[in-house]
């Protein structure tokens, strides 16, 4: 059986990639994908520990996370569509209206 630490290491790698994606990429779609990546790395940790301890709590929590992620994507994509309509672009650096 593959040790839990492997899953955790993979999860850390996935999360780091997600963070880097959010911080470094400009395309809003990519940003969303990066966020999904981070959520899924968290899911991986839940599931890994669930398997190790033989408890189902982590698995249930993963369902919740997936549900929230789906809802978030729905809202997020709607926002992106609206932004694209007004700006003809989905580059997040173009929507810097909160600049002080």
């Amino acid at each position: 059986m593959i040790p839990t630490s492997y899953y955790l290491a993979l999860s850390v790698i996935l999360f780091a990639i997600g963070v880097a994606g959010v911080l470094l990429r400009r395309n809003a779609i990519i940003l969303f994908m990066a966020i999904e990546l981070m959520l899924n790395s968290a899911n991986l940790v839940f599931v890994a520990y669930s398997r190790q301890f033989g408890a189902l709590d982590g698995q249930i929590l993963v369902f919740f996370v997936m549900t929230v992620a789906a809802a978030e994507v729905a809202v997020g994509l709607a926002l992106i569509v609206t932004i694209f309509r007004s700006k003809a672009s989905i580059d997040v650096d173009d929507i810097s209206m909160l600049k002080g």
Binding site: V19, L23, L31, V92, D93, I95, S96, K99, G100
Partner: protein
């Protein structure tokens, strides 16, 4: 029956309140009925008090109306004292007052302030009754001041008339100020009495002085002399008599009621009331006697030379008050009260008749369009046939005043002279004789100037068109005159020398009030002198009547400059004018312009206070506030702004990743802290 006594005060109060509130709607007739009726009701109650006293064996009775001042051991109630002395005054004030009220209804007919006049008149009666009904010195003082203010109000009643349209108002002011000087003496006396006795109730005070006798003689002398100052102010004696002639500016009923019959007798009443204090202060008694006699003579000489019909009577009043004061000083309290009563009758009569004359001449002035001074006797003459009733009562008054047997003035004046004679010859005091001589001279002069007045007014031919058209007045005016004339004739009956009715009546108030026995020598001498004086008067004025209203007095050729001296009232007004008044005005001006304006306002206020205030506030607002506090807060605001612009603003880039980086660093930090701890 004593419990009725508050009604004596209550009736006029109700009368004045009614007239005060409804007077202007009621019309002259009702106002007159209410005012006269109120005083008449008081008169009836006063007469009831006489019977109550008789029933009570003449024993004094006090009626508590209300508590007034209670401080520690001092207790001063509103309490009415019913004894023979106060009841005598009550009957006199309300009786004469009623007649004068009725007369005033006719006299004031058509005046635009008719109702107000009767409000004042009733108020005066109330105050005078408070004065005589008082059971302590302070309540007496309330009445004393009350009649003073009424006198002021009534002298200035026609305030828009007189010299410069201000003369009457000035006369009122003069009366008020001069009376204040007297009141000052009275107040100090009252304080000293309270200091010594610890009470102002008559019983306590008089008991104290009666029983401590000569050991408090020094104190009694001071107190009595101060009381004399008060009496001199109110009863118009030297040196404070100057206000009374000016008080003739008031309507004639006022002159009759206040300045002849009642108010001016307040000083006499007060001194008679304080008799036990005077009794142990012989030196002030002597002062009082000499002052009174001196006033009697001096005022008589002034009356001799006056042309104004009312001024003659005013000086005559001062002179007669001098008789009364002299009598008080001689210890002849009964004689003083007797003369006070008879004088009230015939002087009220004379004033009201003079008012009738003036009214008649004014009437003539309207008819003939000759607007001369209706009070100047030079413009009169020959009124005997035109005003028959007035002439008759005037002669009665004049004869009574001159002291001719058997009218009231004879009995009362003679009793004073007999007292003076007694003190001088029997007891052998030099001042008694001096007083006798002064008073006898004054009596001679009195007879002379009354003769002069009668002849100038009523005999000869009319010296002006106004006098030529004069006419008799309506019955509201003549009926009270006839009533007073009867009283003037028979008034002496209250104290005939062989019955001493008034003497034994007053004896119940103070045991040493005694009448004096009839002195034939004195009586014959004074009658002879009076008759001779009248005869001389006839020779001077009747045989050669005044030619015109500008002719000089026939006495001028005999007396010359001294008549001018008398005419100008011994230059007393001028003397006071140059000394007291000028000094006072100078002082007032000094205080107003130098002390107040130049020093206080310009220097202290403007220079010191205002300028230093300006300096201080200038410093506060300039350097301290504007440069200090304001700069500091400006700087504070500016630096906040600076920090915001230079530091906080660039942080807000608007780039999502920057915020995300911030969130991540925050999470890392939190996690780091959690790991380390």
């Amino acid at each position: 029956m004593f419990e009725l006594v508050p009604f004596i005060l209550l009736f006029p109060v109700l009368g004045l309140l009614t007239n005060l509130v409804f007077g202007r709607y009621l019309g002259e007739r009702f106002v007159g009925i209410i005012a006269s009726g109120a005083v008449a009701a008081s008169f009836i109650v006063s007469v009831i008090q006489v019977f109550a006293l008789v029933n009570n064996n003449f024993h004094v009775e006090t009626v508590l109306v209300a508590d007034w001042i209670t401080i520690g051991k001092m207790y001063l109630p509103w309490q009415i004292r019913v004894d023979t002395l106060s009841v005598t005054m009550m009957v006199l004030v309300t009786g004469v007052g009623t007649l004068i009220h009725i007369y005033a209804v006719g006299y004031m007919h058509g005046d635009k302030r008719f109702a107000r006049f009767f409000v004042y008149l009733n108020l005066f009666v109330v105050m005078m009754l408070v004065l005589v009904a008082a059971d302590n010195y302070l309540m007496l003082f309330v009445g004393w001041e009350g009649v003073g203010i009424c006198s002021y109000l009534l002298i200035g009643f026609w305030y828009d008339k007189g010299d410069d349209n201000l003369g009457n108002a000035r006369a009122g002011r003069k009366a008020f100020v001069v009376n204040r000087i007297g009141d000052f003496g009275f107040l100090i006396a009252m304080f000293m009495i309270f200091g010594a006795v610890g009470s102002l109730q008559f019983d306590a005070v008089l008991y104290y002085f009666e029983n401590h006798g000569m050991e408090v003689g020094q104190l009694a002398t001071t107190i009595t002399l101060l009381l004399l100052v008060g009496a001199a102010g109110k009863s118009a004696q030297i040196p404070l008599f100057v206000w009374l002639p000016d008080a003739m500016a008031g309507p004639t009923p006022v002159s009759a009621l206040i300045h002849a019959a009642t108010m001016v007798t307040a000083g006499i009443y007060m001194m008679v009331r304080s008799a036990p204090i005077y009794a142990i202060a012989p030196s002030s008694q002597m002062t009082v006697a000499l002052l009174g006699a001196g006033t009697a003579l001096m005022a008589g000489t002034i009356a001799l030379a006056q042309w104004d019909i009312k001024r003659v009577l005013a000086y005559s009043t001062i002179s007669q008050l001098g008789f009364m004061v002299a009598a008080v000083g001689l210890g002849a309290h009964v004689a003083a009260m007797f003369h006070l009563i008879t004088h009230a009758f015939f002087k009220a009569l004379l004033f009201l008749s003079a008012g009738s004359v003036i009214h008649g001449v004014e009437h003539g002035a309207h008819k003939s369009d000759d607007h001369c001074d209706p009070q100047d006797m030079r413009n009169m003459g020959g009124l005997k046939d035109k005003m028959k009733i007035t002439f008759g009562v005037y002669v009665v008054g004049a004869i009574a005043l001159a002291g001719i047997f058997p009218l009231s003035g004879f009995w009362s004046k003679d009793e004073i002279l007999a007292d003076a004679w007694h003190v001088g010859m029997v007891e052998g005091h030099w001042h008694g004789m001096t007083v006798y001589i002064l008073l006898a001279l004054a009596a001679v002069i009195t007879a002379f100037y009354m003769t002069r007045q009668i002849i100038l007014v009523f005999f000869g031919s009319s010296r002006s068109a106004a006098a030529n058209h004069a006419a008799e007045n309506p019955p509201t005016m003549t009926v009270p005159l006839i009533g007073l004339a009867i009283l003037s004739i028979v008034g002496g009956g209250i104290n005939l020398p062989w019955s001493h009715t008034l003497g034994s009546w007053l004896e119940h108030t103070h045991h040493f009030f005694h009448g004096i026995d009839f002195n034939l020598t004195v009586a014959l001498t004074s009658t002879a002198l009076a008759v001779a004086s009248i005869f001389v008067g006839f020779i001077v004025y009747y045989r050669r009547p005044l030619e015109s209203s500008t002719a000089p007095d026939p006495l001028m050729s005999v007396l010359g400059p001294s008549l001018k001296f008398f005419y100008n009232k011994w230059y007393i007004d001028e003397l006071y004018g140059t000394t007291f008044v000028r000094l006072y005005e100078w002082k007032a001006r000094f205080l107003a312009f130098k002390v107040d304006r130049d020093f206080w306002h310009d220097f202290v206020h403007n220079q010191i206070i205002l300028k230093s205030f300006k300096n201080v506030s200038g410093t506060l607002s300039g350097p301290v506030d504007r440069l200090g506090i304001n700069k500091f807060f400006d700087g504070l605001a500016y630096s906040v702004h600076n920090i915001a612009v230079k530091v906080l603003r660039p942080v807000q880039t608007g780039y999502v990743r920057n915020y995300a980086l911030g969130v991540m660093l925050g999470v890392v930090m939190v996690l780091g802290i959690m790991l380390i701890r």
